[in-house]
C-alpha cells in the first residue's frame, strides 16, 4: 500500500483522472473545459487554503460552509437593498472575520474542542443566514454577475482572486515567522509554548484567516451563480477538508501546504465533478466517488501517523 503520501502522488492521481475522462469523452480535453474547471474551482480552492492553515495546527473548522452562505446573504441583501456594489465585498469579509473570531476565542480562550465549536457556529451561521433571507433565494443584480464573468487581462476575475489568495497564503506559510510557527504548533503545542511561540495569539489568527477565506471563496462562487439559494455552501466544509487532505495536509497537524498540496487537491475534486458531468454520468455518483477517495487518503494519513504497531 502506498506508505508515503507525498503531495506529488496527488498530482499523479490528477493526471490519471484527466486521462481517464478524456478517453471517455472528447469534450473533456480542451482549453475551454480547463478554463471552466479553473473558474469553478476558484471558490473551493480559496476556502480549502484557509482550512489548510487550521489543519496544520491540528485544529478543524466546520463552519466555513455556513460562513460562505452567511457572508453571501448579508452582502447580497445589502446590494439588493441599494447599497453600492463595492460595499458588498468588505461586508462579506467582515462577516467571515466575525465568525472566525468567535471560533478562535471559543477554541483558544475557552479550550472547547474545535469541532464542537465550529459545528455550533455552523448551525448558528446557517440559521441566521436563512432567517435573514427567509429561505428565499437572494437574486443578485446583474452587476454581481458581471464580477463572475468579468475578465482582467483576459483572465476571468475568479481565477485572478484565487491565484492571489493562494499565493499570499503560500508565502505566509513558507516565508513568514507566523507560517513556520504554525507547523511547530501543529507538531507539538507544549513544545511550542516552551520554545516561546505565542501559541494562543497565532491560533486565533488562524481561525480569523479561515473565516476570511470562507467569505472570499463564497463571494467568488456567488459572483458566478448570480443568486444565493438556501442550500448554498452546504457540505463545502467537507469538500475543503477533502481538498486539503488530498493535497497531503495531515489531520494530526504539522504537515501540509498550499502549493502543490491543497490547490491540486481542490483541482482533483473539481475535475472529477466536471468530468462526471461531461461524460453524462449519473450525477448522484459524485458524492460516492469523492467520499470513498477521501476515506482512502485519511486512512493512509492515519497509517503514516501511527505506523502499523497497535
Amino acid at each position: 500500500m502506498i506508505k508515503r503520501l507525498s503531495p506529488y502522488s496527488t498530482v499523479i492521481l490528477l493526471v490519471l483522472v484527466m486521462l481517464l475522462f478524456s478517453s471517455l469523452s472528447d469534450g473533456f480535453l480542451n482549453g475551454r473545459n480547463f478554463m471552466n474547471i479553473l473558474i469553478q474551482v476558484s471558490g473551493l480552492a480559496i476556502v480549502a487554503a484557509g482550512m489548510t492553515l487550521v489543519l496544520i495546527t491540528a485544529g478543524i473548522d466546520l463552519s466555513v460552509g455556513s460562513i460562505m452562505f452567511l457572508a453571501g446573504v448579508v452582502s447580497g441583501k445589502i446590494v439588493v437593498g441599494g447599497a453600492p456594489l463595492w460595499l458588498a465585498l468588505p461586508i462579506a469579509l467582515l462577516v467571515g472575520v466575525a465568525v472566525g473570531w468567535v471560533n478562535g476565542i471559543a477554541v483558544v480562550r475557552f479550550k472547547i474542542v474545535p469541532f464542537i465549536v465550529t459545528l455550533a457556529t455552523l448551525y448558528m451561521g446557517r440559521g441566521f443566514g436563512l432567517y435573514i433571507s427567509e429561505t428565499r433565494a437572494v437574486n443578485l443584480p446583474e452587476s454581481f454577475l458581471a464580477i463572475g464573468t468579468f475578465k482582467l487581462l483576459g483572465i476571468p476575475l475568479p481565477i485572478v482572486i484565487m491565484v492571489l489568495v493562494l499565493v499570499v497564503l503560500h508565502l505566509v506559510l513558507t516565508k513568514t515567522t507566523f507560517g513556520r510557527q504554525l507547523y511547530a504548533i501543529g507538531n507539538d503545542k507544549r513544545k511550542s509554548v516552551k520554545a516561546g511561540i505565542p501559541v494562543n495569539k497565532l491560533l486565533i489568527k488562524v481561525y480569523l484567516i479561515s473565516g476570511l477565506c470562507a467569505a472570499i471563496g463564497g463571494f467568488v462562487a456567488i459572483a458566478q451563480l448570480g443568486a444565493i439559494s438556501p442550500s448554498f455552501g452546504n457540505q463545502s466544509e467537507f469538500m475543503a477538508i477533502a481538498a486539503a487532505v488530498l493535497g497531503g495536509t495531515s489531520l494530526f497537524g504539522g504537515k501540509g501546504g498550499i502549493f502543490p498540496g491543497t490547490f491540486i487537491g481542490a483541482l482533483l475534486i473539481q475535475t472529477i465533478q466536471n468530468g462526471l458531468v461531461i461524460i453524462n454520468a449519473d450525477p448522484y455518483l459524485y458524492p460516492l466517488i469523492t467520499a470513498s477517495l477521501i476515506f482512502v487518503i485519511v486512512l493512509i494519513d492515519s497509517r503514516e501517523k501511527f505506523g502499523s504497531h497497535v
Partner: protein, 325 residues
C-alpha cells in the same frame, strides 16, 4: 436524610433534570397551547426518536469519539426498509412477513455502517469525526443514488398505523423507547462492556494496560449508535409513511445538543444516560415551544447552536479542576 434532602442532592448531581422541570413549568405557564393534551402527545412523539438517537450517541461520546453519520444511517435504513416493505416496489409482498424482513433489514444497515465506523476508528486508528463525516457523505449519497432521489411509498398499513395503536393506553413507540433506554441503561451500568466504555473514555492507556479489549469496546459503541439510528429511522419512516433518501437531515444538531446539554463530557469517560434523556427532553420542549410561539425554524436552529456553545463553555469553565492535560 429527608425526602427533600434526597431530591436536592439528586438535583445538584444531575442539574439538567432540574433545568428540564423548570423549563416545562415556565413554558406551561407562558406559552398558550403548550400544556394541551394534543401538544403533550406531540412532545412525546417528537421526543422518542430523539431519545433513542441520543442514547446511541452517548455511548460513542463516552469513549471520547463522535458519530456524525447517524443521519445517513437513518436515510439508508429508511430506503432499505422501504424497498423491503413497500407493496408496489417491495421485494416481498406487502404482508406481515415483509414488515419483519423490512425491520430486520433496517437494523442490519445500522449494524453494518456501525461496524465500518467502529473498525476504522478502532483498528485503523482514524480520527472518529473524520471517519463518521466521510461515512455521512458516502451513505447519504448512496441513499440518494440508489433511489435516484425518489421516495418509496405504500408501506404496509401495519407499520403505518403502529404509532397510533396504543396498548394499555400508551402508544407503541413509547414501549420501544422504554425498551431501548432500559436495555442501554443496564448495558452501560451493569455489564462488563459498560465498565469498559467508561474506562476507555477516561484513560485509554490505562485501559490497555489493564487488559481491556479496546477494539471490541470501540466497535460495539459504534454498532450500538448505528442500531439506535436505524430504530429511530423506523419511527420516522412509519410516521411519514415513506422510505425517503433524505430522511432525518436536520436531526444531528438536536442529537449532539441533547447529549452535550445533558452534561456528558466530550473528552470522554464522564456522562450518564439519564442526563442525555433529560437533555433530549429539553431539546424537544425547546423546539416545540419556540415553534408554538411562531419563531421561525431558522432562528430556532441558531438558538440550538448557541445553546451547544454556551453549555460546552459552561462545562469547560465548571470543570476547570478536572480537565484533562
Amino acid at each position: 436524610m429527608t425526602i427533600v434532602d434526597n431530591i436536592r442532592t439528586y438535583l445538584v448531581k444531575n442539574p439538567i433534570v432540574g433545568v428540564c422541570l423548570l423549563y416545562y413549568l415556565l413554558m406551561a405557564l407562558m406559552v398558550p397551547g403548550f400544556f394541551s393534551a394534543n401538544n403533550s402527545w406531540n412532545l412525546v412523539y417528537n421526543f422518542i426518536p430523539l431519545l433513542i438517537l441520543a442514547v446511541g450517541q452517548t455511548f460513542v461520546i463516552l469513549t471520547a469519539g463522535i458519530d456524525l453519520s447517524i443521519t445517513s444511517i437513518i436515510a439508508v435504513s429508511s430506503v432499505v426498509g422501504g424497498y423491503l416493505m413497500s407493496s408496489d416496489v417491495g421485494l416481498v409482498d406487502g404482508s406481515k412477513w415483509s414488515m419483519l424482513l423490512g425491520i430486520g433489514g433496517m437494523l442490519s444497515v445500522g449494524v453494518i455502517i456501525g461496524l465500518i465506523n467502529g473498525i476504522s476508528v478502532a483498528k485503523l486508528k482514524m480520527p472518529a469525526f473524520m471517519v463518521t463525516l466521510t461515512s455521512l457523505m458516502f451513505f447519504s449519497g448512496f441513499a440518494i443514488w440508489i433511489t435516484q432521489s425518489q421516495n418509496i411509498y405504500n408501506l404496509p398499513a401495519l407499520l403505518v398505523d403502529a404509532p397510533y395503536h396504543s396498548f394499555l393506553g400508551l402508544p407503541l413507540p413509547v414501549y420501544l423507547a422504554v425498551l431501548v433506554f432500559t436495555s442501554c441503561y443496564l448495558l452501560l451500568n451493569k455489564t462488563l462492556l459498560g465498565e469498559w466504555v467508561y474506562a476507555v473514555g477516561t484513560n485509554i492507556k490505562t485501559s490497555w494496560i489493564s487488559g481491556i479489549n479496546i477494539p471490541l469496546t470501540l466497535v460495539s459503541v459504534y454498532v450500538i449508535s448505528g442500531v439506535c439510528a436505524s430504530l429511530a429511522s423506523l419511527i420516522y419512516t412509519a410516521r411519514l409513511e415513506t422510505g425517503s433518501p433524505v430522511m432525518g437531515q436536520n436531526v444531528l444538531l438536536d442529537v449532539i445538543g441533547a447529549v452535550i446539554i445533558g452534561g456528558t463530557s466530550l473528552f470522554g469517560g464522564r456522562g450518564k444516560l439519564q442526563w442525555t434523556a433529560a437533555g433530549a427532553l429539553l431539546m424537544t420542549m425547546l423546539d416545540n415551544s419556540l415553534n408554538l410561539v411562531g419563531m421561525s425554524f431558522f432562528l430556532i436552529m441558531m438558538v440550538k447552536g448557541a445553546i451547544i456553545l454556551l453549555t460546552a463553555l459552561y462545562n469547560q469553565l465548571g470543570s476547570k479542576s478536572l480537565t484533562h492535560a
